[in-house]
Structures are given as C-alpha cells and as structure tokens.
Symmetry: C2
Subunit: 414 residues, 2 copies
C-alpha cells in the first residue's frame, strides 16, 4: 500500500495540472466519469454487495445498511449529480477585484483553487462521487477517507473515476482514496498539513469533534444543527404550525431539521393545542417547560434537552416572555446553523435577523431551506457552522481561495 | 486572577453589544482611546520601563529591547494608527449579495463580525493597540495574549483602552488581556473554542507552528516568508538589480523581504557582476550554486539554504534553465507568501502569475509591497499564508464573516 505521504505528494503534483485545466476539459471529464459510473455499475454493485454482507453479518443497524446500499438507481443519481456539476459556472479564473495603486501597481484578486482538499466521511458511498465532482470542477485534487464499512464500494467508485480520467488524459490523482480501515491512519491524515490545504469532515458530531481536535490542517466544520423555531407574539399561528411541522418532520435525520421550539407566552394558549394535534399525527414526542405543560400534555424538558440535536421525532419546547429572551436562549444553546422567527412584526424580525448568531437566520420560513440546492448553488459539499472562510451551504465557490496577481514596471518600496 | 473561561465568557457577552454599535459610536470611541493613550503616555512609559529594566537585567538582545521599548513618539504612532482606523469604511452591515429564489424566499448575504478574535503575539507593545483598533472597528471583541516580556506595558495599554471605552459607555470587555506569563495558560487559550471564533498568531515561525499544532480554534497562519525573485531570460537587468536590492535590503527582518534569487542561465553573466557590486554595498552574504560561483565570489548554497527565511543580510542564489524550472523550485521551497518575476516577456509573466502558488505573485515589482497599507487597505492585522478565509494582507474585511438573512412568507420545503 502507498503511504499517506505518497498520496499527499501525488495530490500536490496533481493540483498543478488541475489548476491549469480549461472549463471545457473539466466538463468533458465530468460527463465521461458520469458515463463510466453507469457503464460500470455492475462492478460497483458487486463490490457494494461485499460491504452490505459484512454489515449484515456484524449486525449493523438497518438504517445504516440502507445508507450503505447502492442500487442502479442510486448510481444513476451519482452520475446525474456529476452532470449537474458540469453544467455549473466554473468559479476558477474569475477576477474578483482589480485596482490600481498610486505608484502604478495593478493589483488583481483572482479566484484560484484551494489546492488539495481532504474529505473524511461516514459510510455513504455516494459522497465519494459527489465530493470528487465538486472538488474537480473547482480545480482541486481530493483525498478521500470514507467510512470503513464502505471500503469495497468506495474503492470501486474511485477506481472507475480514475480509469475514466486517465482515458480523458487527465491525471488520475485528481482523486485518491485512503484504502485503510486503521483509525491511526485517519489520525495521521489529519496532520498531513504539508500536502493538504483544507480538511472537511462530513458526518456526525463525534467525527467532526475528532477532526477539529486533532487536525493541523485548516478545517471547515459542517453539519451539526440544533435549530430553533421561535413563534413571536405577533405570529400568524397557522403559518407557525405549518412551518414547525415542516421543519420538525419533513426529514428528521438532517442537520437543518428543527429540534427546539420557543413560544412567546402571549400566543401559547392559541398555538399549542393546534400544534399538539398536528405533531401528534407524526407521533412527535414533546418535552416542554412548565408553562407548556399547563396547556398540553408533554414530558418535562430538562436543561440538557435544550442543547440536544435529536435527529428524531422529538421536540423540546420553552416559553419566553420576549423576543430578547428568545434570542438569548438561541445564542446560548444553538450550534450556529439555522434559526427562524415566525412574526408579522417587522421590528422583531430585523432584531432576530441581526442578533441571532447563526449561519442562516429566517423570518417566516422553514429551517429546512438551508441547503446548497435550495439556495440555488446547484451543489453542496456541506453546511458550514463556523465563521471562518465559509458559512452556511457551501457550493463550488466555497472550495476556492484567491491570490493577488500584481503587475508593475519596476516599482520598489520607498 | 480571572480564569481564562471567564475572559471567554466576558468576550462572548461583549460581542453581542459590539455587533450592534453604529459606525459613529465606534469611530468616536477610537478617537477617545487615541486621545487617552496620548494623555496617559506617562503612565504607560513608566510601566514600559519596568519591562525594559527586566529585559536588560536578563540580557535580552538589543534588537528585542528596541522592539519592546515605547517612547512618546511611538505612543503617538499608536494613537495615530487608531485615528486612521476610525477613518476607514466600516465593513459591518454591507449586503454582499441579495437574490430571490423561485419560491419567493429573499436571501441576503450580510457581512457580520467574526465575534471573538484571539491574538497571540510577541513582545511588541504597539500590537496591543493596533489589534484592538482593527478588531473593534470590525465589531469584534478581542482577547490578547502578548509576549511575557511586555506584560507591564501591555497591561498599561489595555487598562487605558478599557478606561476610555467605559467613559464612552462601551463595554470594556471589547478588549481583554491574558495577564499571565505561564505557557500552560497560552496552551489553554488555544483550546478556548467555545468562546473564541478565530485565533491569529503574530510572530516568528516557532510561535505560529505551535499555534497551528495545538489550537482547536480556527487559525489564520501569518507571516513566515521565504520570498523569491526570479530573473527571467527576458529580464531588464537594471530593473532586476534595483528590485533585488530593494526586496533584500530595504528592511531585512520582515516576512516580505527576498530570501532567495533564481536566475535564468542566459542572463547570469550579465546580471551577476553588477548585482554583486550592489549587494556588496549592503554587505549581503551570497550563497550560490556552482554556476553562480563561476561568475561571482560566494559561499556554496546547500539544499537547506533554499528553504531558509534568513531575516538577515544573506541571500541564496540558484541558476535555472527555464521559467518552468523556476516555478517548480519556488513551489517546492516557498512559504506561499510573495514571489516576483522580472521579465519583459508577457507569456512568461502570465505563466508565473498563474502557476506560482503564493498569496501575492508579482511581475516587475518588489516583494516588499505585500502589505495592507501598500495595498490600500488602510490597515493590516497580518499577512495570511494559508488559503482558507484570507490570503495575503488582511485588513478590516478579513476580520469579518457573513450570515444569510432569509425572508419568507410561510415557505415550507416540499
């Protein structure tokens, strides 16, 4: 097996080739890779079957088995995703700013690839193709470390991509897979700072925490979402119920789902009975504070509940006396992901937008819209919950950096 | 002494106040702080004297003593810097982008403060005022950890700033100093992720490496510069000499000084004798490869020399056979800071601009222009050599993040 350092060197060499590729060459390759994935789907499915069999044998949770499983349809979905990325505007080469200094220097701020991106993810084989596509279109080499349970699948997908690239005359080291199930290798990968410019963990809170704690490579934190809906005293209660049901139940296992509800005391008697019936239809468990419990049946909410990302049919509820109290509660417990206020009052809406500290702050809409596709980016590598570099949904532009190109005619500093 | 966690909590509370300040309030406070520094300069100088005495007693290098020393003039310089920051455009509140989605959602990308910024720096007391000014104007709370040798000076400056802020009705926790000389406290500070959004180390390579290795807070790497001048075969040799002398000798101890020279073989016989004489005037030691040694007197350059940031009157020199070889050498040895090509050939110039991996890439100009003031940013917190978030000179904008503010009228995701 090649060592990690060798993978790093390969990627670092590939990045210089990739940054020079024309948009046409990149798009042609993305289409070729998409076709290859469909053409070679038999081979990929056969390898995937090995992962599934191993997973079943070790008693993996059915939900995880489902996440791991590939089908012809899912492979077609991966190919479709790559073709969509080919259709997106190429971010590379854009002159972001240009200005002339009094001494005659002309300074251009040019958008350039990040270089080498590392992605650490759990056992979702589709991420292998998705991550390659986004990194490749934005001119980056990528080193992938997928979940151990998907190793056969990831290796098959990566091999197909590399073969297709080679046939197009493109360096196959545009994508490399760390084909190891050794945790120590993952730890070592996080310290491959000499070769890797950016590391993105995609997965649960545990994975992300481990990467943040151990990486020496700059990291973008993605994904954990303890998202709130706040129903203001000036809310349209029917709209509130509709948005809460959507944000809580439309898809429970995602980071932009609602986990906690704040209700202004003035509307609790009107809102809660109607909301209770609506949540009941989805068998959502309610954990409320005392004032909520005075109106509807619920379990008591603990301090710990307010900080939980349930990813389940459970919601915590708390009453507040003002928009200020709601904002303070959110800023204390949230994960800086997505927050929404339901109100017809413009002043409270602006206050909430300005003062809540989160990547995406909404007025009268579901938190579920925090998504690269819903934002119109055409793609998404993840949702950043940190403030450095990128915040919220990350598309192609968020996988780029810039450089200053400066032209002179002999200027020296005085 | 207050614990670090308490400082973190104070800063986190202050950030919500600071993000709400109007531009006028911020500017008024900056002027008030500038006046206070001048008014209280006696008190600051008395405290600085304690640091100087301790430094002299322990035999500190005269260069470091000079860096540590404050004078009336230097304090006036700090005050002037704050007044200049007050004159700069406030980056906060800018709507960077705004778009409407087909479902009617209006998405605004708004520039917001980073929140809490941590700065770790060496024994230069002026950084205390500079860093406060830039963080404050960009709406951030700042926690400072200055060099232990400057503790009395830093405490005096911070006290004056805090007093002046309080008198203006602004939270004094806009700036806090970690008043400890214990290295373990600095290590703990680097892991104060719950309260600090961004950590910027300012100083030598050792400090920066330590922060990158140990911080769990997102870091922006600044400062180390192994900068090259490449004299192409199509160079104007007089211009080359002028730029090399400027880049090497105008100020030797800075990150944008030239440390290494690459010379196309075709011009070495013409360039080197003239350059030798010019460098000799500054007593610059030359370490060259064999082909350089055939033309001028020099010490032999080792492999290690090519990777060195001398910060001294020393320069390494290497001949190359092509612009491609020059680019490959630079990409192998540089620190991604500033690189320049001297050429009259447009094709080679564009090749160099595109393919050299560095924050600032120049044609026919000195590397010494990599500087926030020279770029017209009006200020500088440091020069980033990483690709995440900010690259090259960092001004006020680079101390900000953004959030998405999204307005709907009841939209739910289907």
């Amino acid at each position: 097996m090649e060592t990690l350092v060798q993978l790093g060197k390969n990627a670092a060499a590939a990045k210089y080739e990739l940054q020079k590729l024309t948009t046409d060459a990149k798009n042609r390759s993305l289409f070729a890779v998409a076709d290859a994935l469909v053409r070679e789907s038999g081979r990929i499915l056969a390898e995937n079957e090995k992962d599934i069999a191993a997973g079943v044998k070790k008693g993996m949770h059915p939900g995880l088995i489902d996440r791991l499983r590939l089908t012809k349809e899912r492979i077609n979905g991966m190919a479709k995703g790559l073709r969509q990325v080919a259709e997106l505007v190429d971010p590379i080469g854009e002159v972001m700013e240009s200005f002339k200094r009094p001494n005659g220097l002309i300074i251009e701020k040019r958008r350039v690839p990040m270089g080498v991106i590392g992605i650490i993810y759990e056992s979702r084989p589709n991420v292998t193709a998705d991550a390659f596509g986004l990194c490749f279109k934005s001119g980056n080499a990528v080193i992938l470390k997928g979940g151990s349970d998907a190793l056969y699948s990831n290796r098959a997908i990566t091999d197909v991509i590399r073969d297709a690239l080679r046939a197009e005359g493109i360096t196959e080291d545009a994508v490399q897979l760390i084909a190891s199930t050794d945790r120590a290798v993952t730890q070592e990968f996080m310290r491959l700072k000499e070769y890797v410019d950016l590391l993105i963990p995609r997965g649960g809170a545990g994975l992300i925490k481990s990467v943040v704690e151990n990486s020496t490579i700059p990291v973008i934190e993605t994904g954990t979402g303890n998202c709130h809906v706040y129903v203001d005293e000036f809310a349209d209660c029917d709209m509130a119920v509709s948005i809460i049901i959507n944000a809580k139940t439309q898809r429970i296992g995602v980071c932009n789902a609602c986990e906690s509800l704040l209700i202004h005391e003035a509307v609790k008697d009107k809102l809660l009975p109607e909301l209770y019936d609506a949540l009941n239809k989805y068998q959502v468990e309610i954990r409320g504070d005392e004032k909520v419990a005075q109106v509807i049946e619920c379990k008591p909410a603990t301090e710990e509940d307010y900080g939980r990302e349930y990813l389940d049919y459970i919601i915590s509820m708390k009453t507040v006396a003002s928009v200020e109290e709601a904002i303070a509660h959110i800023n204390k417990y949230n994960t800086k992901h997505s927050e929404t206020i339901i109100t017809e009052n413009r002043e409270n809406a602006e206050k909430f937008l300005n003062e809540v500290d989160a990547a995406c702050v909404y007025v009268n809409a579901s938190t579920r819209f925090t998504d690269g596709f819903e934002f119109g980016f055409g793609a998404e590598i993840g949702i950043s919950t940190q403030k450095l570099h990128a915040r919220g949904p990350m598309g192609l532009k968020e996988l780029t950096s810039y450089k200053y190109a400066i032209k002179g005619d002999g200027q020296i500093r005085l």
